[in-house]
């Protein structure tokens, strides 16, 4: 009788483990399969490539994560990134490039200027979102849906305003390319600057989330807005603060992404928000609000990038990749819902 109970208990525990960690188990199996098919996947250079690709998406995800912790979302992140990238890219084009957007710029601008321009635009768009959510009490989904289209329209108008028509903004100066794509030599391999920038952003956001009043208020509002208000938290100011931080992060991500891809067009940033949101959900940031960690966001973004990279590495049909990624996102949310129901 005792043995049967122990066996049932073990079976339950195993089932619980398998269900709660289904995503990580699938990822583990995927990686093993990739390595079996092509052992070259398991190399330091591949790992660095994955981290480099994850860096700009990761910085974007750090911004989006704050909004998800507030029990909201941001569908405009990708398009805002595109708009910011277009503006910053236009300011870092090579002065020897004949078709540059600003022929009046005859010397390379200090990189701080396009970075600040990118951050300013990111903050403006995010403040619009924040105002809608904090002051007008609109749902973040709807506000960001509108801002997404506004940002896309602004990007298209800006890129179309070039003398030569709507052409991709490219041919950047060497200083900018080296700043974004350079690397530190460490032993036998090189550590890209992008990974360092991502690490710095993660540390700063971790400090904001865990060591500042804004961070504590963010979790309080996401956990229980009424209780937070009763406890004396200024809800509007805190929400606006979170959106401000997100705007800064979007601006930085856009500046770096422009340098990484070295060509910005109207399609830049398309679906980046979905990747950012997916990364957050996979990393354990709950849509219920009030739950999330920076290491979780980082792990989620890297996991998503590993999935993207593995599927590309295996040569899986790109259209099929969309289906697989979509299923993975639904699985991540389902596990989150299951944890909530189990707690209830």
């Amino acid at each position: 009788m005792g043995e049967t109970k122990t066996r049932k208990w073990d079976k339950e525990r195993i089932n619980e483990f398998l269900l709660n960690y289904a995503l990580y188990i699938i990822l583990g199996i995927m990686i093993i399969v990739v390595i079996c098919i092509n052992p070259k996947f398991l190399s330091v250079s591949n790992f660095i490539k994955i981290l480099t690709q994850a860096s700009t998406r990761g910085i974007l995800a750090l911004g989006v994560a704050g909004m998800i912790v507030l029990a909201g979302t941001d569908l405009s992140a990708g398009r805002i990134l595109g708009c910011c990238a277009a503006v910053s890219a236009s300011l870092v084009q090579s002065v020897t490039y004949a078709s540059r957007m600003y022929p009046g710029i005859t010397e390379d601008l200090p990189l701080i200027l396009p970075l600040l321009a990118s951050i300013t635009i990111g903050v403006i768009f995010c403040m619009i979102n924040g105002f809608g959510v904090a002051k007008l009490k609109l749902h973040a989904f709807i506000v960001s849906l509108g801002t997404q289209l506004i940002a896309f329209g602004c990007t298209c108008i800006y890129i179309d305003s070039q003398e030569g028509g709507a052409q991709a903004i490219s041919s950047f100066n060497e200083k900018f390319i080296n700043f974004v794509n350079g690397s530190f030599p460490i032993g036998n391999f090189k550590l890209p600057y992008l990974i360092c920038y991502f690490a710095i952003a993660a540390v700063v956001v971790w400090i904001i989330w865990n060591k500042t009043t804004l961070g504590k208020n963010m979790f309080a509002i996401g956990g229980n807005m009424e209780a937070a208000a009763v406890s004396g938290v200024n809800i509007s100011r805190s929400i606006m603060g979170v959106y401000l931080v997100a705007g800064v992060l979007y601006g930085i991500a856009a500046f770096l992404e422009a340098g990484r891809i070295q060509s910005v067009n109207t399609g830049t940033g398309l679906n980046y928000d979905l990747d950012a949101i997916s990364g957050c959900v996979i990393g354990g940031v709950s849509f219920a609000g009030g739950v999330g960690t920076i290491p979780g966001v980082i792990i989620g973004v890297i996991i998503l990038q590993v999935i993207n990279y593995s599927l590309n590495f295996l040569g899986v049909n790109p259209y099929l990749q969309y289906i697989i990624k979509g299923l993975i996102i639904i699985l991540a949310v389902s596990i989150d819902v299951r944890k909530y129901i189990a707690k209830k």
């Binding site: 269900l19 009424e226 209780a227 295996l314 099929l320 990749q321 819902v337």
Partner: protein, 67 residues
């Protein structure tokens, strides 16, 4: 004395009954509150999704390498 104790006990009981109601009222309304799904159903959904991911990934690899 017994009557007093009974009254006290009844008053405590009423207080305890009120507490869960207050707790319920102050429970947050979140994205998942409207869900009326059982744990068993969610377990089946997760299992189904896992199978779907494995099937599609296997099909994709087969298409890319073996076909």
């Amino acid at each position: 004395m017994d009557d007093e104790q009974k009254v006290k006990a009844e008053a405590e009981q009423e207080e305890n009954q009120e507490l869960p109601n207050t707790t319920l009222m102050s429970m947050k309304e979140n994205v998942y509150d409207h869900l009326n799904v059982s744990l068993k159903t969610m377990n089946r959904v997760i299992a189904l999704l896992v199978i779907a991911i494995i099937v599609f990934t296997t099909f994709g690899i087969w298409q890319a390498h073996i076909k």
